[in-house]
């Protein structure tokens, strides 16, 4: 498929464990975003990658959260020592980037449940 792909679609983990969430953006898109959405809430910005520029990490809620984007394509969001308040849907989006359009296309999300 040509859309944004996220895996896993669902993840249940025990409190204190680390988790990795993966995002495969649309091929050629230079901009990639991670958001968090709690039940019935809006989208909370986490981190933004644009090409080779330093990522905008201003939305990461704590130092337990980190993200990487390898080779300008696939991105991994890592949450260390998970807490129950980390339970949410984590959404990834990509867009063509500077000069190529700013419409962000979203994946279906990863539903994270910390028990």
């Amino acid at each position: 498929g040509a859309g944004v792909s996220q895996s896993p679609s669902n993840k249940v983990t025990e409190k204190g464990k680390d988790v990795e969430l993966r995002c495969d953006p649309i091929s050629g898109h230079t901009a990639l975003y991670w958001y968090r959405q709690s039940l019935g809430q809006g989208l909370e910005f986490l981190i933004y990658f644009q090409g080779n520029s330093a990522p905008d990490k201003s939305g990461l809620p704590s130092d337990r959260f980190s993200a990487e984007r390898t080779g300008g394509s696939v991105s991994t969001l890592t949450i260390q020592r998970t807490q129950q308040e980390d339970s949410a849907v984590y959404l990834c989006a990509s867009s063509p980037g500077v000069g190529g359009g700013f419409e962000a296309f979203f994946g279906q999300g990863t539903r994270l449940t910390v028990v």
Binding site: Y48, D56, G59, F106
Partner: protein, 114 residues
């Protein structure tokens, strides 16, 4: 910022009526704005966008209006259908003329009564 708690603002309309969903944005430097629709269990889907140098843009059954003076954005949906029931988010971005991160508003739940 203001929190809306666990309940999103809700707009209930009759099928066939027009809907208007409003959004207040925060950054006067934002140069583009997007409306997204999110159905239950899905990621947000693009509806329509507008650049800051415009005040109106029309799509199929949808119109976006931008008032930069009061930092207000609205989405008008003509002849609302049951399939339009969803949560609608506005988003702003593009600070200073280059693409920056995309910040979303709180969302409005649209409920269409048959």
């Amino acid at each position: 910022g203001e929190s809306v708690g666990l309940h999103l603002p809700t707009l209930s309309v009759q099928e066939g009526d027009n809907s208007i969903i409003n959004c207040a944005y925060s950054n006067s430097a934002s140069d583009y704005f997007i409306w997204y629709k999110q159905e239950s269990g899905k990621g947000p889907q693009f509806i329509i966008d507008i650049r800051s140098n415009m005040d109106k843009r029309q799509g199929q059954r949808v119109t976006v209006l931008l008032n930069k003076t009061v930092k207000h954005l609205s989405l008008q949906i003509a002849a609302t259908q049951p399939g339009d029931s969803a949560v609608y988010f506005c988003a702003e971005g593009g600070y200073g003329g280059s693409q920056g991160n995309l910040i979303f508003g709180k969302g409005t739940k649209l409920s269409v009564k048959p």
